[in-house]
């Protein structure tokens, strides 16, 4: 693996080392800054014990030096949920409502499935315990929790042989005392206890319950993993990435691992943002096209946050970077359906057998189309380390072409156009459907297949500026490295006469809690910033818009409603549903490494016959390693690098900036 290692000196003063690590399914990426020197490294992941790859990578990169601070983006909780290998959870909830975890919202995900199915509940029927207690919406107690009931709960908990407990009672957002009492009684048993109102103090019981249960389900695995890592990194202050793009200390990550479940992709967006900031752009769309799926997200001066997501089908209501995923990527299968339309995805050839050109499969995929179209350079694939079989791609695409009654090149072009249309639709969801014009944004393309498809996709969307960041494979680790410590808390506080002073007054306890916790993590008071948001709607609606709370926030709500939905009703009554506070410390000061300016003329490594527009043309292939700051080059041509291939269409001119990022701009 290409790695830059720390030149070890036995100087008296140890350099201060800051590190960021992202554990992916295949690779664990590491970046570090030591005395202003940027180090990068990559090691194979060790899914049975992710800490091993972390330790190996650090040792290879830093020798026996240890980082002062390590921010870590972990897939431990994610994998426990995806693979169904979480804890045995016992649930305590109101008697008569034990099955809510199974019923959910009563709906099905696929409208036309002959046999609708739902993911299996994370708490088995025998592990759901009814509690004689009932609180009402105004916080009053209809049936208070008795002491006898508490002892019965503890006895049931002991008998259950559970590894983790979840507690969720109706209306606990309005009065948490019964949940707290149960938690206090369970804590001495020494198992993690997930208490619904502590993770999420908002109304709508099912989502709060499900969030608490998912938390309990992944808690023991996460706890032992973090403990293991902390033991091995005794000299390092360890932080963990959350799904909202901020980091937390180990204690909170242990208590609320549900907040880390979507942290990997979030770190990517945050890394892209850190990168983009150094380029002077803060409005962009990330386009991360991988093997089986594509993630897109919108960054409009800040990452957009969404509060409800469904990892593996389970409802989780915690803040996550708003990333939209579509089942289309390099491995997506292409076929002609019985009505005569070309379909690409969502079925995928996956890692095994993979695209036909990988040598095992026979069915045509997007990657095969890219190869046939000459967009992918066989001898440079993964730096030449993995052999491709162009003749297998030819055969697969050839068969598709026969079915389509056209030639292989046209079939390949068709597959690329259809998959791009799927991507275009995904990007429209996060822009047009949310009131933004994609033409006002730049596109940041990465992932194995992103830079190959970016130019044509950008043209379809009217985007005129595309950036391929340097070291795209390290964006997640980079994001972790620079991530600030952060806390986010919310509470349901329905208020039909919203006023600035009152919102701030009600937000005060949340701010104080966040401030104390951040201070406890060693953040200096002067570095802490708080932002207050209100989830607002017209009285009678039930979908809320998140509005930053400032002096004129009610007017801003009307404006945001108009922008998002095309109409507003300034005379109608407005209400606040939830108040949320986002607090953060300062992120690590990370700066990209400058790239040396050009010293000699750029020479093509090879030439290739590529589909340009509608015909085949012979174009140059350059190696990204040979590119130097300040270079300008007009398309069409191809740039190859270790992890991806960039196709620059004839409509674009490429410029290499001082940090080595490629800017593709529509030629004048």
């Amino acid at each position: 693996m290409s790695a830059r290692r720390l030149k070890h000196t036995r100087a008296a003063a140890r350099p201060v080392i800051l590190a960021g690590i992202d554990t992916g399914g295949t690779f664990t990426d590491l970046v570090a800054i030591a005395d202003g020197q940027l180090l990068v490294h990559k090691v194979p992941s060790t899914p049975d014990d992710p800490a091993r790859a972390v330790m190996t990578g650090l040792a290879e990169m830093l020798g026996d030096a240890a980082p002062e601070l390590l921010t870590y983006s972990s897939t431990v909780a994610t994998n426990a949920l995806l693979e169904g290998k979480g804890a045995r959870v016992a649930l305590f909830t109101n008697a008569g409502f034990e099955d809510l975890i199974e019923i959910g919202r009563q709906n099905r995900t696929d409208l036309y499935a002959l046999s609708p199915s739902r993911p299996a509940p994370l708490v088995t029927r025998a592990m759901r315990h009814g509690v004689a207690e009932r609180t009402l919406f105004d916080g009053s107690e209809l049936k208070p929790l008795s002491r006898a009931e508490l002892s019965r709960i503890v006895a049931a908990a002991r008998r259950s042989r559970a590894d983790a407990f979840a507690v969720c009672l109706l209306h606990s957002y309005a009065n948490p005392s019964a949940e707290d009492a149960i938690a206090r009684a369970l804590e001495p048993l020494g198992k993690p206890v997930s208490v619904s109102h502590r993770i999420l103090s908002e109304y709508r019981e099912y989502e709060r319950l499900s969030t608490a249960v998912v938390n309990a389900y992944v808690a023991p695995t996460m706890a032992s993993h973090l403990e293991n890592l902390r033991r091995k990194l005794a000299r390092t202050r360890l932080r963990v990435m959350q799904s909202n793009g901020q980091a937390v200390g180990v204690e909170l990550a242990r208590a609320e691992p549900v907040r880390t479940i979507l942290s990997g992709p979030a770190a990517g967006v945050i890394g892209a943002a850190a990168m983009a900031k150094s380029l002077g752009t803060d409005r962009f769309i990330t386009f991360d096209m991988g093997g089986t799926s594509t993630d897109v997200s919108l960054f409009d001066r800040r990452a957009r946050i969404r509060t409800l997501s469904y990892p593996n089908g389970y409802a989780v209501r915690t803040p996550v970077v708003d990333i939209h995923t579509v089942g289309a990527g390099g491995g997506s299968l292409a076929r002609l359906d019985a009505g005569g339309s070309l379909r690409v995805g969502p079925e995928s050839a996956g890692a095994n057998p993979g695209p036909a050109c990988y040598g095992r499969g026979v069915a045509p995929t997007v990657t095969d189309a890219d190869l046939v179209a000459g967009r992918l350079v066989a001898q440079s694939f993964l730096g030449g380390r993995m052999a491709l079989f162009p003749e297998r791609a030819d055969r697969a695409i050839g068969e598709l072409a026969r079915a389509m009654k056209t030639d292989p090149l046209a079939a390949a072009r068709g597959v690329i156009r259809v998959v791009n249309a799927n991507m275009e639709r995904a990007i429209r969801v996060i822009t047009v459907e949310r009131g933004f014009d994609p033409r006002d944004f730049s596109m940041l393309a990465f992932g194995g297949a992103g830079p190959m498809h970016a130019c044509e996709l950008a043209m379809d969307l009217g985007i005129r500026h595309v950036v391929m960041p340097r070291n795209p494979g390290l964006l997640c680790a980079w994001g972790a490295l620079g991530a600030p410590l952060g806390r986010e808390y919310s509470l349901t506080a329905i208020d039909s006469e919203p006023g600035f002073a009152r919102v701030i007054r009600r937000a005060r306890p949340l701010i104080e809690r966040a401030r104390a916790e951040l201070a406890g993590e060693g953040v200096r008071a002067a570095d802490i910033t708080h932002e207050v948001f209100a989830d607002m709607r017209y009285r009678g609606q039930s979908y809320e818009i998140e509005v930053p709370v400032t002096d004129g926030f009610v007017e801003q709500f009307h404006e945001m409603h108009r922008r998002t939905f095309g109409h507003a009703a300034p005379e109608a009554a407005v209400e606040i549903v939830n108040i949320r506070v986002r607090s953060r410390g300062a992120g690590a000061p990370v700066k990209p490494q400058p790239l040396a300016p050009a010293r000699r003329k750029l020479v093509a490594v090879t030439k290739i016959e590529t589909l340009v527009g509608e015909r085949r043309r012979t174009i140059e292939v350059y190696s990204r390693e040979h590119l130097a700051a300040g270079m300008r080059l007009r398309g069409p041509f191809i740039v190859v690098e270790l992890s991806s291939t960039t196709y620059v269409a004839p409509e674009f001119t490429m410029r290499v900036d001082e940090f080595g990022n490629l800017h593709l701009e529509v030629s004048a």
Binding site: Q106, Y112, S115, Y206, Q541, S542, G566, H567
Partner: protein, 530 residues
Amino acid sequence: MKLDPVALAVMNSRLAAIAEEMGVVLGQTAYSPNIKERHDFSCALFDAKGELVAQAAHIPVHLGSTPLSVRAALERLELRPGDVAAVNDPFAGGTHLPDLTLVAPVFIGDRRRPFAFVANRAHHADIGGMAPGSMALATEIYQEGFRMPPVKIVERGELARDVLALFLANTRVSEEREGDLRAQLGALSVGAERMREMAASAGRGRIALAMEALKDYAARLMSAELARLRPGTYAAEDFLDDDGFGASRIPIRVRVKLARGRATVDFTGSSPQVRGNVNANYAITLSATFYVMKCLAAEAVPANEGLMRPVSVIAPEETIVNATAPAAVAGGNVETSQRIVDVLFRALSKAAPERVPAASSGSMSNLTVGGFDSIRRRHFSYYETIAGGAGAAPGHPGASGIHTHMTNTLNTPIEALEAYYPMRVTEYRVRRGSGGRGLAPGGDGLVRELECLAESNVSLLSERRTLRPWGLAQGGDGAAGANYLVRAGVATKLPGKTNLTLKPGERIRVETPGGGGWGRAPSRRKHRAK
């Protein structure tokens, strides 16, 4: 007209995206819980002929019926630039009165003829009539609420104040109606704008050709799917429990003929229309049929006019599957539609025995509660549907407590319900043991119990309270549902369809039906030995 495979895929994706975007706007800006929380609406695009080219259906019952609303609007009105038509008349393209459909033409430049139409339909929480929620046990359409044949609600860009005033004067919660209408209009203008943008970028003529080609494509695809089913003629019958007014075991009969990629679905022999409100109009029967066909298709067939081309539906007039005025129809949409699905699957279980599931709960278990909230000093009207068990299929045990077939609405969170209405939920759980036994057992129904905190009018409109959801291949039937009034701890059984008044502290308890099982259940002893 044939388009190349790539253009077909790209155009289909673009049109569907527009319909979906309209749906996002409507769902997120509406006021009534039916639309915003339960997503009881759909949005669609039509070509210059008024034929469906794309639909984002959240509710299958709208699939075949929205096109009839558009057709009715186009037959009766001449839509000019800036006009919007509104219609809810079940006998002029509607389904039941609460479903209000809006249709707007899309003009390009100063051309005289519309280039396309955009439409959406949403279930309004109250449209007048004899009881809050407009779902009462009526015997005539006149009792069910305000009936609107196609009228212009917007004319040349101006809201028709007089029409709006007439409409609002006839509903109970007029403020909410106005908000929902605004949301519907907002969604239409987004759809029209996107259609114009698309025509401007790709060319009007090309889009028109593409829309034509997409319909042909859906027809070919649907036909190919039908050809995969075993050809033959399959007959079945099933029954509604009753109509709430004395008629019981109301038969619905069907003969499905499958040959050469076509299906003829003939409901001749079904019961004449009845006095109660379980009459389905033709739009409902059409929707239920297309829902079943779309389920059977292994491939996702785009929802456009072509999907319906290889299928003909015969439903004699003045029957329970094609009622005429002045029949009451509110329950046709929510209950009879489910039974039409059941009878079709029962017939087609012989054409695709390896895939077709046993009967699901077969009722939406509609509960409407309304009255004067003496605590909050205001009138209220609350409507919910309660899920049941899904029928099992080979290798697929039925899911429990899940909405099936013609509905897919979300439940209202208990914490929201209790904060806004004088009601308390006292129990909500899976009704264990209610699913039919079988090699693959049927899903269980639910138990839902609500306590009224103010004097309230309650209406129940439910089915499968006497006749049970059937199993298949020797699988057991699901348990019938049951409704109770609980007064001072004593439960009294109620009929499936009833109106009653509850005093504070009294409870209504609904136990929904389980789904049918599939295949002979392993004997109990063997089961235990495992």
